[in-house]
């Protein structure tokens, strides 16, 4: 019997294995499940797993291998933005389909990529709004790992905060390298900044490995959520699983999904996951949900198009709507991003999140930020006849030649 190959492009070794291995597993689970249902278009799905080993050029190489050698119908992969940037030209050249499941900085829309993670407006801005309104925060520490996702997010936030009347001296921006492990100085700086009398919060875009020592230091230096809450955009259940969460109760995270969300679909997903991974302590998290949504969208689009032929599937994907795990439906928009609810949660002692706020409806992604000079006039719309990822509404032109449809 003929099969349809699905590429799984997540690091299984190196620094990113910590986050990405789970996504590989969840994909294997989804594929297995789909096969139990009879596959797609009557064909079984066959996962093709490769290890790009947290090495960015290797991502490109492996992507090429998946597309040209394995001829996969779709690929689910990448975590860091740089890995996505590295494979992007490959997917465009070979006209492949990539589902990218992680929140990112935006400022991109490719014909061949479907962004199932949050754009900045689907995560950061609501979080800041919550802190401003609910906690009365007036002073802000924007702490991040020094790369493009935190930088962009912070830039957008800075512009946003200023538009809300926050003064420059009430914003402290701090960047650290990947894997930063000695947080003594920075945490004590945060404490100092936060004891000016004005209510202060930390918006953390600290990524990956650096989070554990950061939170450990916060806990030990006695920075309590009631004094200086920290809201993080890259810390989820999986990261907390490696931490003693007692001292962290009340610190926040903003995501589009929490494992603690109480509904039947999520319960079923968690059960399925724990059964698949044979460990009833394993947690679920937001990027896993993103893959869940992305995969179901792909299945639906393929069935709609009746083929796995990329152009047909790419066209069919727009407008596809599937249930997400927070009780609603997410839709693939013409800008290749999906609609998402935003949840704000406080860390509980058991490492789960207590949802303290939820946006009333789903948000559409601003792939091009209205707060940034270069992109405020850009939009993406991959429907014909526009078919452009960076259409300038002022000039009426599609920006990058290569991004336009051929």
């Amino acid at each position: 019997q003929e099969t349809i190959k699905i590429g799984i492009l997540h690091s299984l070794s190196g620094t990113m294995a910590i986050s990405e291995t789970t996504l590989k597993d969840v994909m294997l689970m989804l594929i297995e499940e789909q096969n139990k249902k009879g596959g797609v278009l009557g064909k079984k799905l066959q996962p093709v797993v490769v290890d790009p080993a947290s090495n960015w050029p290797l991502f490109a190489e492996k992507a090429r291998e998946l597309l040209t050698k394995e001829k996969v119908a779709a690929t689910f992969g990448c975590w860091t933005s740089v890995s996505r940037k590295s494979v992007l030209p490959v997917f465009e050249e070979a006209n492949g389909i990539l589902f990218y499941p992680v929140q990112y900085e935006g400022e991109e829309s490719s014909k061949n990529v479907f962004y199932t993670g949050a754009a900045p407006n689907q995560q950061a801005i609501p979080a800041v709004d919550y802190l401003m309104n609910e906690e009365g925060v007036q002073r802000w520490v924007l702490a991040g790992t020094d790369y493009v996702y935190p930088r962009t997010t912070n830039k957008i936030l800075e512009a946003y905060l200023k538009s809300k009347g926050v003064a420059q001296e009430d914003i402290l921006i701090n960047y650290t390298p990947f894997g930063h492990s000695d947080w003594q100085t920075i945490v004590s700086e945060i404490k100092k900044f936060g004891s000016s009398g004005k209510k202060t919060a930390v918006v953390s875009t600290i990524n990956g490995d650096a989070n554990v020592p950061f939170y450990k230091e916060l806990g030990n230096q006695g920075v309590k959520a009631t004094d200086i809450p920290v809201v993080a955009f890259s810390v989820g259940e999986e990261e907390l699983a490696g931490l003693d969460t007692k001292p962290l109760v009340g610190h926040l995270a903003a995501w589009n999904y929490f494992m603690s969300v109480d509904n039947d679909a999520n319960k079923a997903f968690i059960e399925q996951w724990q059964a698949f991974i044979k460990n009833d302590k394993r947690v679920t998290n937001d990027p896993m949900e993103a893959h869940y949504i992305g995969f179901n969208m792909w299945v639906k689009a393929v069935e709609k198009a009746g083929t796995t032929e990329p152009d047909a599937v790419i066209d069919a994907l727009i407008g596809v709507s599937v249930p997400n795990l927070t009780g609603g439906y997410s839709t693939m928009m013409p800008n290749h991003h999906i609609t998402k609810p935003v949840l704000i949660g406080e860390i509980k002692e058991d490492g789960q999140f207590d949802t303290v706020f939820e946006t009333p409806g789903l948000l559409v992604a601003n792939e091009w930020s209205p707060y940034l000079e270069g992109s405020k006039d850009l939009i993406a719309d991959w429907r014909k006849p526009l078919s452009c990822g960076n259409f300038n509404v002022k000039t009426g032109k599609c920006g990058g030649g290569a991004k336009a449809s051929q």
Binding site: E65, S86, D146, F178, N392
Partner: protein
């Protein structure tokens, strides 16, 4: 002992293989239809090309390590600088086709709110200038670094560790967005070179051929160096540095010359690498990459040149294959390979091949030594 002929038997084999590769790889790729069993798929061409650039980097490492005893744990820095130089050119080549359609500034600069091109980006739109920088930037860095280090007689592990510090410092520096070199993302999304899209099969084949040519020339240059009297001094420096000084050799000058040449070779390798893989970012500066380059040399056989190149290709081939075939176990296989090579092939893979020579040598030596000093 190294043979004194410019091209020895191994050299002929090596060069012949390279020439064959230049003809066969693009030929089988371009001329044969895709369903022909001998067809080389397009994705393999840049992959093989990448191996060749790694092989050139390995040659550069072997030249300083194998022949002069300088264990560089920072050669990746020169490789990356060469790559960045060409990457900057490729960025400028994009012109107004970037997503922000700025004719002057690459996307990431628009994104950083830059209004004009930083000074150090000037001139990179002009290919000959960029090409010159591919040699000059790594060369100049190597010169300055080497000038101080060799004069101060920093040797052995001390030198190794400061080369590592060098590449680590550069990693962090290029990582900073304030460097205006693309930060963590580096430079990517290249379109074309000389107006020819990078993705065309012809371009790929040309880059492959160019890499093979560079590797061949690099090999000949290294051979020329190590078979000249200069090379003999290098070996003397490697084994008995202090004694060599007493013979009247300014060791620091020898080291500096070979160090700079090696850095430039690494720069060229990086420059050929970038258009074939399509991205250059600070990760290339990571100390682990430099250590890996040393590992290739050790696997192939230190101080054999051909072995270095062979090691680079084999290890990387193994990596490509294993990460695809055994994504969850490949580290065991690769790690095990390294251990096995050290234990059973003390002179690397070339030692294995070389043992055929030693059979010959054995018979002759036996006759010679049967009667010790007269």
């Amino acid at each position: 002992m190294t043979s004194t002929r410019l091209i020895d038997f191994k050299g002929y084999v090596f060069l012949a293989v390279l020439v064959a590769a230049v003809v066969i790889v693009p030929g089988l790729n371009l001329l044969l239809p895709a369903d022909n069993p001998f067809h080389i798929p397009s994705y393999l061409v840049p992959l093989l090309g990448k191996y060749l650039t790694y092989a050139l980097l390995a040659l550069a490492v072997d030249l300083v390590w194998g022949y002069c005893g300088i264990l560089s744990l920072g050669h990746g820095a020169f490789f990356a600088l060469g790559g960045y130089a060409i990457g900057m050119h490729l960025m400028r080549e994009i012109g107004p086709r970037g997503v922000y359609a700025n004719p002057e500034l690459p996307d990431f600069m628009v994104f950083l709110n830059l209004k004009e091109l930083p000074v150090w980006w000037w001139g990179f739109d002009f290919f000959p200038y960029a090409a010159l920088m591919v040699l000059l930037v790594p060369g100049a860095l190597a010169f300055v670094f080497g000038w101080f280090a060799f004069r101060s007689r920093v040797t052995g592990v001390y030198l190794s560790i400061i080369t590592q510090a060098l590449t680590f410092a550069l990693l962090l520096a290029f990582f900073r967005n304030d460097m205006i070199m693309g930060g963590n993302n580096g430079l990517t999304d290249f379109k074309d070179i000389f107006g020819i899209p990078l993705q065309t099969q012809g371009m790929r084949a040309s880059l492959f051929a160019l890499s093979a040519l560079a590797l061949g020339l690099g090999y000949l240059l290294c051979r020329y160096i190590v078979t000249s009297n200069f090379g003999k001094v290098l070996v003397a420096v490697r084994d008995q540095e202090s004694r060599t000084r007493f013979l009247g050799y300014k060791v620091e000058n020898y080291k500096l010359v070979v160090w700079v040449i090696s850095a430039m070779m690494a720069g060229v390798a990086g420059a050929l690498y970038v258009p074939q893989v399509g991205i250059i970012n600070p990760g290339e500066f990571s100390p682990a990459n430099s250590i890996e380059a040393v590992i290739w040399v050790a696997v192939g056989g230190r101080g054999t040149l051909v072995g270095a190149a062979l090691g680079a290709v084999l290890v990387n081939f193994a990596k490509t294959w294993l990460t695809g075939a055994f994504p969850e176990l490949w580290l065991f296989a690769l790690g095990g390979l390294f251990v096995v090579v050290t234990l059973f092939l003390p002179k690397g893979i070339m030692g294995l091949i070389g043992s055929m020579d030693s059979v010959k040598a054995w018979t002759t030596r036996r006759r010679a030594v049967a009667k010790p000093a007269e």
